[in-house]
Point group: C2
Chain length 295, copies 2
């Protein structure tokens, strides 16, 4: 057993990611004390019952006043309010980090809310499932996954190093990135796919009654996979799209142009256009398997 | 061991589906003799080597002349040519079936090619993986899955019953359906999802070099699932889209309208539109899990 990286960590918002991180921190002995802050008393009760925390608070002052690290794990649209609520109670020298799926908007919202002498290290673990809530968490979620940190030029290097050490200790590989670049990459790899999945499942949901029943009954592998993605937390995803608007709108535009081209090829029976496109996409799958991201 | 359902079955085209069906037929003792027909000598060699057939032929006459059941398993665009090639050599009273993912076009192409006294029972097992070729097959592929048969009013009931018995013996639940209706349902559950997956992976493939590398590196769960779907056989899918044109174009249109509505909601910051839509889609996932189609 190595010495803990932190004395006290406070997890703000106990959803899938923070409850998984809390379990992993406990499993690896990375903090002496785990605390949670959640406005919902029921979430506090569940967090205590699941044993993912030592103390669960609904009051920001009680929750964060002793914390060396505070991890914001709410939907990104709530980060500003949460930062404002905890800010007056943060310990001088405390580190604040987050696990939000967009980084530019979170930095814009959180950083100005924090007092001098508190270090903000924005982060995003590339991990998750379609399940949400504290009970869905598990300590191994981050094992073998990437965690992207987007520190600013003025971020204290020691604070960044400590957050990095935490993610590495729970099994992740950490990469630092410009927040704008992060948001553009994630718009393609995660945000657009989720929007498309939500759309296609919604399209099916709008079908007449008997067709809809049969779509469910005969949901072949394609559609089934989409419904899994489209079962992700609605509030979390609403906030992601609203807070990564430019990058998401840009990739929707590209996607729509490409879909229109295929639609046209189908209409005019241009088999060679379809075949060429479908053959190219196999290469990307191969690259992902080679990059060991195929799980 | 029950008596075999057929004396000799000939599998035409030894891809994922037919090689899986051949394995299942052998495993359950459903035919005394298994024969394959494939224009590619290499496919014949592999089929023999894998033990999925007793004899492998490149010549239609040799392959089908003794067969009681002939299962067409080529891409749907090749079905007409295959039917014309085997027709003169079919035994009187033989049953011809197929495993194509579209039914109206296959009936249009195959039925007129077959001689009097041969019974055509169109079929479509709702099963598959993203892998293709004979080596990818496995006997359990159809276990617990649906198989849709689309017999015509004039189809001999006994022939339909025999094909039904075969699919039930390999573990599937058989449902009879109008071919047009089949094509509309599958356009939503399978064809559109595949087209979308091919599109989104293609969109990523077109990104500038460094972005593309990072998309692969950080492919989160959404995109990764799409690349799996987009790794499916290009020729097979080209033919599906070309042969289910009307139904596919109709669902693309609905999908595009729905995507445009979400795109607009993102642009104008209409969070309640997004949240409402994302919440609705969860119900469909729940229904699919309840229908035990979630694998």
């Amino acid at each position: 057993m190595t010495a803990p990286l932190f004395e006290t960590i406070c997890f703000v918002g106990i959803g899938l990611i923070n409850s998984s991180l809390a379990r992993a921190v406990r499993k690896h002995g990375l903090a002496r004390r785990l605390v949670t802050l959640d406005a919902d008393p029921e979430a506090c009760r569940v967090a205590l019952e699941l044993g993912v925390t030592d103390s669960a608070f609904t009051d920001p002052a009680e929750a964060v006043s002793g914390a060396d690290l505070v991890v914001l794990g709410t939907p990104v649209g709530a980060m500003e309010a949460v930062a404002l609520a905890v800010a007056p109670h943060l310990k001088p020298g405390a580190i604040v980090s987050d696990v939000g799926s967009v980084k530019t908007a979170v930095i814009r919202d959180v950083e100005p809310a924090l007092p001098e002498g508190v270090h903000f290290v924005p982060g995003h673990p590339i991990a998750g499932t379609e399940f949400s809530g504290p009970a869905a968490g598990f300590a191994e979620l981050f094992q073998g996954r990437w965690c992207i940190l987007t520190p600013q030029a003025h971020t204290q290097p020691k604070a960044t190093a400590q957050v990095r050490a935490l993610w590495e200790a729970v099994g992740s590989t950490v990469e630092e990135m410009d927040p704008n670049h992060h948001d553009r990459v994630l718009a393609v790899t995660s945000h657009l796919p989720h929007l498309i999945a939500y759309t296609i499942v919604g399209t099916a949901d709008d079908l007449e009654g008997d067709m809809q029943q049969e779509v469910i009954k005969f949901s072949a592998s394609g559609f089934r996979d989409f419904t899994r993605i489209a079962a992700s937390d609605p509030i979390m995803w609403r906030d992601i799209f609203l807070n990564n608007k430019e990058a998401v709108l840009e990739v929707i535009q590209r996607f729509t142009e490409d879909l229109t081209a295929l639609q046209r090829a189908i209409r005019w029976g241009e088999g060679e256009v379809l075949e060429k496109r479908f053959t190219k996409t196999r290469a990307i799958r191969r690259a992902i398997i080679d990059a060991k991201q195929d799980r």
